[in-house]
């Protein structure tokens, strides 16, 4: 599974668990806020799930700014 598919799958799972209806999510979608209905705790959950699935820890050396789905995907695309 590539990083984009993984992020989209986990985003849909997260939204389903919150009882939110399915929406179109693309690389330009903003993670936090009204568009996806996610708050910081949801985002923290998403990140730890991605870390577990990929074995990657992109934040080990400090915080990296990311706002959109595409930016998060690129953080988890590095080998």
């Amino acid at each position: 599974m590539n990083a984009l598919t993984l992020v989209l799958t986990e985003l849909h799972n997260l939204r389903t668990s919150k009882g939110l209806a399915r929406v179109n999510i693309d690389q330009g979608s903003v993670l936090l806020g009204d568009e996806l209905g996610l708050d910081s705790l949801d985002l923290a959950t998403l990140v730890v799930t991605l870390e577990e699935h990929t074995g990657l820890s992109p934040f080990n050396d400090g915080f990296v700014m990311f706002k959109t789905v595409g930016e998060l995907v690129s953080l988890f695309s590095k080998a």
Partner: protein, 409 residues
């Protein structure tokens, strides 16, 4: 030994060797052959046999004895050599009072040496009259809890089975059945693991004691279902103060009325500004220190009961909210298919930390995915920040020595 206590029938079984009392006394005599009257015996407490020799030296020979739990932490004088279990040192301060010295584990700060007059150690023991009693030692022999078990077996003239070198609960179960063990004392983590291995009832076990970690209600309930014919109690003790109290009503925590009153054993309880339990004892001497020992265990009052929330140094900060992982574990243990669980902190770029849960499932409750969805549902009654973001299934949890749940990640 106190003058009126005569022990004649004790035996220790360890690593398939049987050590009757006469053999232990003979070994001790050999060790002390060339000792001066003031020499203290220093025992490295890895095996029950070595620690038992230390106990006999303190009780019967009125020697000053040091029980070293971790030689690397606090060597007393000279270097230990490989495989060496005891040494004699000249120690002037031991002349007047033949104390037994124990090391604290260091969970509440730097490890300290604590001195016990031997008769005070035996004070809180219930020896019973059953000469056929058989004890299983699951603790570190040189810890306070381990000593309680060893002394109970020794002074009662019973049999003691050491689990030195045995890590798996299935192997311990085998020993319990083989020797028809009647008394077992262990941490709640040990008991959850043991009960998973036991499946059916272990009929020989009549006395169950929980100690060394905070006893939670789901574990107490599980044990009373699993061992309906056993007496179950949980003991709260620290190395610094000895046994603080013992609870036998099957409920977690302890009666609120015990706070701020002096107990019959001379112990006084109070609660600090941080909510931690303070204990004072007139019975022990701590080498440096206050009269009140801060246990680091946070207490919460609910009606007539005082409950433990967890250790103050285990608190996890998730997005500014403080979580006791023990409380989340207790919540998860209420599910019948959760055999054991450890909740720990994972650094998060967004919330500082986030919780993850390592779960040991019981068999026969369906697929992992099915259990996970039930767990997620069950977690919804907790505040969101207290819900673990990640659930991982494991075969066993990592434990520190003597079956304490390992807390570091």
């Amino acid at each position: 030994m106190q003058a009126d206590v005569v022990v004649s029938s004790f035996r220790l079984i360890e690593n398939q060797h049987i050590y009757p009392l006469s053999k232990l006394r003979l070994s001790l005599k050999k060790i002390l052959t060339n000792a001066n009257i003031n020499d203290a015996l220093v025992v490295r407490g890895q095996t029950a046999q070595a620690v038992m020799l230390g106990l006999l030296a303190a009780f019967e020979e009125r020697r000053c004895v040091y029980l070293v739990r971790d030689a690397a932490v606090m060597p007393l004088s000279t270097e230990w050599s490989e495989g060496q279990e005891w040494q004699l040192i000249a120690n002037e301060s031991c002349i007047s009072l033949p104390n037994l010295w124990l090391q604290t584990s260091g969970t509440t700060g730097r490890p300290k040496w604590v001195a016990y007059a031997p008769y005070l150690l035996s004070e809180s023991l219930r020896l019973g009259t059953n000469s056929h009693a058989c004890w299983l030692l699951t603790y570190d022999p040189a810890s306070f809890a381990g000593l309680q078990v060893m002394l109970s077996a020794l002074l009662g003239g019973h049999t003691l089975i050491s689990t030195h070198g045995i890590a798996k609960p299935a192997a311990m179960l085998e020993m319990v059945n083989k020797y028809q063990v009647s008394h077992v004392s262990g941490t709640p983590t040990f008991w959850r693991s043991f009960a998973r291995a036991a499946k059916g009832e272990v009929t020989s076990v009549k006395h169950i004691t929980l100690g060394g970690e905070l006893a939670d209600q789901p574990t107490l309930d599980m044990l009373s279902r699993h061992f309906p014919h056993s007496r179950i109690r949980h003991i709260y003790a620290t190395t610094e103060t000895g046994v603080v109290f013992s609870v036998q009503d099957g409920r977690a925590g302890f009666p609120r009325s015990w706070i701020n009153t002096t107990q019959s054993n001379g112990i006084r309880l109070a609660i600090s500004d941080h909510g931690t339990l303070l204990v004072s004892s007139s019975r022990t001497r701590v080498d440096q220190g206050n009269t009140m020992v801060d246990t680091g265990d946070v207490v919460e009052l609910d009606g007539e009961r005082a409950f433990f929330k967890g250790r103050i140094d285990n608190v996890i900060n998730v997005g500014g909210q403080k979580i006791f992982p023990e409380k989340v574990e207790e919540h998860l243990l209420r599910l019948p298919f959760v055999g054991d669980v450890r909740v720990s902190a994972r650094p998060s770029p967004i919330t500082g930390y986030i919780l993850i849960a390592d779960i040991v499932p019981r068999e026969g409750y369906g697929s992992a995915e099915h259990m996970k969805s039930l767990i997620r549902e069950h977690l919804k009654t907790l505040p969101r920040y207290a819900q673990p973001a990640l659930l991982r299934f494991k075969d066993e949890l990592r434990t520190a020595t003597s079956y304490k749940k390992a807390r570091s990640t």
